[in-house]
């Protein structure tokens, strides 16, 4: 990294340095970016669920030839009162449960969130067969939150080995599945990288311009493409059945011609909906201080028309787009099927990371109030970084081991 910086200086000397710059630059992809497809020293699964309807299958692997261990934290983002939406009078729990995992070289492992993984002798072809990574506790029924794993050494001190990768598969009671990659923060293993007095504080400030930073700075902007909320599904309309039906209201599931017939519901043709989950990059797990970030949404439709909205992410946000704003993401407002949304935290606010889930439906239900649906998760894309773009240094503070 220092070499890159030095050569960047050479670049500024003029065209004579062109060849040097080119050789260095081409040889190296940007190692400091937050990534969903390379190993990292911190991996984040923003959406882990066991709510009685959906469960989560977690896969984590060590991609290096040396053993790797990690401290993992389930962070419960569910509201105190599960019967009410989160808000000032119903704060999110933000409880964390931590455990350690140990992986030998190139070892993959897996467990189901609701079941955890016990240490013991298991039979061939059963879920626990293999070198147990450690005792992994189950999450409580009703858990909705994130899983974060930080690579550590034998003393539980964070190390920047970039050995971890992961995936989460959300599986519904009827078998529908939805999968996404863990978001990885790369660690800077340059010996000249900055050192904190508290080794359990991780600075997310490693960027192309700050070669002595510790971990990848979070993206300055998340790029989120989605189908306009409740847009009719053109594909299912052809290969399924999208005759209009009431969604919600007193006539839920019945055929309709317009919304006035739905008794408070909506008359829709296989509406495509999207759920967005966001978590702040900045977290103080030691002091159990939840982080908060207000983010701005800039939404473009296919005609280059721009709309905007905003929301505050306290601890953990998982919401349908129409819960973030009732109109800004909707097909009735945008008028086009696809939309492009840029998510940018306010100046000075912590960065955010996230994942999206898209739900598709078929209206040819056999029972009046039952719709078949399927969910697909996908990772968001990132642009820029908070450290260079907004001067924000996000930190993760782990409990002292």
């Amino acid at each position: 990294m220092r070499m890159v910086n030095r050569n960047r200086g050479l670049c500024m000397l003029g065209a004579a340095a062109f060849g040097v710059c080119a050789l260095v630059n081409v040889a190296s992809a940007n190692p400091s970016d937050v990534t969903t497809e390379k190993g990292g020293s911190v991996i984040i699964l923003p959406k882990v669920v066991w709510d009685g309807t959906r469960d989560t299958i977690i896969q984590i692997a060590n991609i290096n030839n040396l053993p790797a261990q990690a401290r993992c934290f389930y962070i419960d983002g569910g509201p105190l009162n599960p019967n009410l939406p989160p808000g000032p009078t119903n704060p999110q729990l933000w409880n964390e449960t931590d455990f350690n995992i140990f992986l030998t070289k190139q070892q993959p492992t897996q467990w189901v969130a609701s079941l955890g993984r016990r240490v013991g002798v298991d039979s061939f072809k059963t879920a626990g067969y293999g070198i147990d990574p450690g005792l992994i506790p189950p999450v409580r029924r009703g858990f909705t939150g994130e899983l974060k794993c930080v690579q550590v050494d034998d003393s539980d001190i964070p190390v920047r080995g970039n050995s971890l990768k992961g995936e989460a598969t959300l599986r519904r009671f009827d078998g529908d599945v939805s999968k996404y990659n863990a978001i990885a923060l790369r660690g800077n293993n340059d010996p000249n990288a900055e050192v904190n007095a508290n080794p359990n504080q991780l600075n997310l400030d490693w960027t192309q311009l700050n070669g002595v930073g510790q971990y990848s700075a979070c993206p300055n902007t998340l790029i989120f493409d989605h189908i306009a909320y409740e847009a009719p599904d053109l594909v299912v309309d052809q290969i399924g059945n999208c005759d209009p039906r009431c969604y919600g209201g007193t006539n839920n599931g019945l055929a309709c011609a317009n919304t006035s017939e739905c008794g408070g519901g909506k008359c829709l043709s296989c509406p495509v909906t999207t759920n967005l989950t966001l978590v702040p990059c900045d977290e103080d797990i030691e002091n159990q201080v939840p982080s908060s970030s207000t983010v701005q949404f800039a939404i473009w439709d296919e005609f280059e028309r721009r709309f905007s909205s905003s929301v505050t992410v306290n601890c953990w946000l998982s919401a349908e787009l129409n819960q973030i704003h009732p109109n800004a993401f909707s097909f009735s407002t945008l008028g086009t099927f696809s939309a492009h949304t840029r998510i940018t935290p306010n100046p000075g606010a912590p960065g955010v990371l996230g994942v999206a889930e898209e739900t598709r439906r078929d209206n040819s239900n056999q029972l009046p109030s039952v719709f078949f649906s399927a969910v697909a998760a996908y990772n968001l894309e990132g642009e820029g970084n908070r450290f260079d773009g907004s001067g924000v240094t996000d930190t993760i503070v782990l409990p002292t081991p």
């Binding site: 990534t35 991609i63 079941l115 599986r171 078998g175 493409d225 052809q238 290969i239 696809s338 898209e358």
Partner: protein, 410 residues
């Protein structure tokens, strides 16, 4: 319209190379990567499917989303590559599609004939205004209602059934010559991003058409190849990695974490069901001008949860979708229990597979590949009792050698 013009592009192309290099250097221009989580100048969807009449499986279609993430007008030249196989003995005017799996089944579609792979491409152009998203259904394309650009149009898939891939290359909107990106916020590495959604339903067409409403969906991000900060000469030979790379080199190794085929996973509430994983692999390089597909040898290293290591290898031409258990066995379910990708061999549920393409050192070609993984689970909700998901695979390292993608002449 508040769209900026491509000042950086013009500056570079008009000979201000030194100034551009200085500017890029100040911005920290060492960024260039192959990524599914960042915009890029080449966008590849390794797997798209159309099968609206449910010939090869459940009724299926794909929806493609492509977006210009920059503040400038950009254009793209796209290539829809049809890799569907057809029976050698089928009528010319109504070819019968097939796959290695259908031909190895008890009811082959090519009785008396063979299943012949093919590789043809249709190309089209699109112009995208600032931040503009666009989406289309692969079986229909978007011929007449392309927003804000009457000259843009997207054809439907060449055949139905269709199995293939889509490649889009960012080009200058006036000359349609390949170019670098126009967004200074990402150091000009490219402006295209995209997603593919593959949707299946339980539509059956027999004597009487039936649809019972079961639905399945999976989605993955398009894989982007970013521009490097070396000059892009704008010709139709795209240098991907290697010396003088115009585009970032494809990964040295692909890492796929998966559950071994036929693992019976129990989740909450006692729901159980087995899973299998399909991998679709496509070479990074391609000669779209001569319609010559690349052939690549792949080496697989497979690790289970005991750190035990196994290996196998295979060859692919053009692009290939293969169930993991069929990589080292015949494409029949009966052989799967002997595969090193199967839980009946490994015993553990989780596996990690590292895929290393073998470089063509004789001709100095990296022969790298890109891939996407799909899981197919037993379920009660999906068409034909199958629910699926998809995820982008992981990448590691790059190569000294490069690949070449040659576009048809304008």
């Amino acid at each position: 319209m508040s769209t900026k013009t491509g000042n950086m592009r013009r500056m570079i192309r008009s000979g201000g190379v030194a100034a551009a290099v200085i500017t890029l250097g100040m911005l920290g221009a060492a960024r260039a990567d192959v990524a599914s989580d960042q915009p890029a100048t080449i966008l590849i969807f390794p797997k798209l499917v159309v099968d609206t009449s449910a010939q090869l499986g459940p009724a299926t279609d794909s929806e493609v989303q492509v977006t210009n993430t920059s503040n400038s007008v950009i254009a793209a030249r796209c290539f829809l590559v049809n890799a569907t196989s057809f029976c050698s003995n089928s009528p010319t005017d109504s070819p019968i599609a097939c796959t290695p799996e259908t031909e190895a089944s008890a009811t082959p579609r090519c009785t008396g004939g063979t299943c012949v792979p093919q590789w043809t491409e249709n190309d089209f152009r699109m112009t995208l205004t600032k931040r503009q998203p666009v989406s289309w259904k692969l079986s229909e394309g978007r011929l007449s209602d392309f927003p804000l650009s009457p000259s843009s149009s997207i054809p439907a898939a060449q055949t139905d059934p269709f199995i293939g891939e889509l490649r889009c290359v960012e080009v200058d909107p006036s000359t349609f010559a390949p170019t670098v990106g126009l967004n200074p916020d990402n150091n000009f590495v490219g402006d295209l991003k995209g997603e593919a959604t593959i949707i299946s339903t339980s539509r059956h067409i027999n004597a009487t058409e039936t649809r019972d409403g079961r639905i399945d969906v999976r989605k993955y991000n398009g894989i982007g190849i970013q521009s490097t900060d070396l000059p892009n000469d704008g010709n139709d030979t795209l240098l991907i990695g290697g010396p003088n790379a115009e585009y970032s080199g494809c990964p040295n190794v692909i890492i796929v974490d998966h559950l071994f085929d036929d693992a019976n996973v129990q989740s909450s509430g006692g729901f159980t069901g087995t899973v299998r994983t399909d991998l679709t692999i496509t070479p990074c390089g391609a000669d779209l001008n001569q319609q010559i597909p690349n052939t690549v040898t792949l080496q697989f290293l497979v690790f289970n949860e005991f750190e035990q290591r196994f290996s196998t290898s295979t060859r692919i031409t053009c692009s290939k979708e293969v169930q993991l258990s069929n990589i080292d066995t015949r494409p029949t379910a009966t052989d799967n229990t002997a595969s090193i990708f199967n839980v009946n061999v490994q015993g553990t549920f989780a596996g990690q597979t590292r895929i290393r393409p073998v470089a063509d050192t004789t001709n100095g070609i990296a022969d790298t590949v890109l891939a996407v993984a799909e899981e197919f689970w037993d379920c009660t909700n999906g068409p034909q009792g199958r629910c699926s998901d998809s995820a982008n695979v992981h990448f590691q390292g790059s190569r000294d050698l490069g690949d070449v993608m040659i576009l048809p002449g304008e």
